[in-house]
Symmetry: C2
Subunit: 118 residues, 2 copies
């Protein structure tokens, strides 16, 4: 057991020291220092959050809302800092997803793989 | 990066070798070998899944359904093997939750702690 927590802390350290994490942190700092980029990203995140909350409450998103979200996404993508931040987030998100797959493999041994890829 | 994956595999190995995981695996095998316990658990899981799916679709669960779920829960709890399995699942679930908190700490450094416990 203590070994599990030791290994979790070693993994945390490896994540914090990875190029991918450093890149994300650096992009985040650059955006924090750029008022326009910061505001654009904030607006976009708020809109995303609003739509997610609606979906979680089972409220149907209107075509107009979906279009607005798509337009905002295209707009923020054109900002180089934001576009790079999103790429960095995507790369780290793939890594975190891989980690979760790896560490839950022992549980698949018991419960089987829900995706049937055993 | 490769270090992240190495550490994730070391963590997986530590989980698979932990007492908590071995206990869960053993309880699961004992239930698989016991037709009555297996069937009771299966019925309970199916009912849980059904109610979860309703909630995810935003369908309100009736008082009758909630009562039935509670009754089934109390029933399966009285079966020693199932009750022990659920305890073992709970213990492993706490560990997995702790691991997730630990390995996402670097991200909190960037995005802040949503629970404000920074
Ligand atoms: Ca131990
Ligand atoms: Ca690397």
């Amino acid at each position: 057991m203590s070994n599990v927590y030791d290994k979790a802390h070693e993994l945390k350290k490896a994540i914090a020291e990875s190029e991918e994490f450093s890149a994300l942190k650096s992009m985040h700092e650059q955006i924090e220092a750029d008022e326009i980029a910061k505001k654009m990203l904030e607006n976009f995140r708020n809109l995303q959050l609003e739509l997610q909350q609606k979906q979680m409450q089972g409220i149907q998103i209107t075509e107009e809302e979906a279009q607005k979200a798509q337009q905002q996404f295209e707009l923020v993508q054109q900002h180089e800092l934001i576009s790079k931040l999103m790429e960095a987030e995507q790369r780290l998100s793939v890594i975190i997803g891989d980690i979760n797959k790896i560490i839950t493999e022992p549980l698949e041994e018991i419960y089987g793989n829900p995706e049937g890829q055993q």
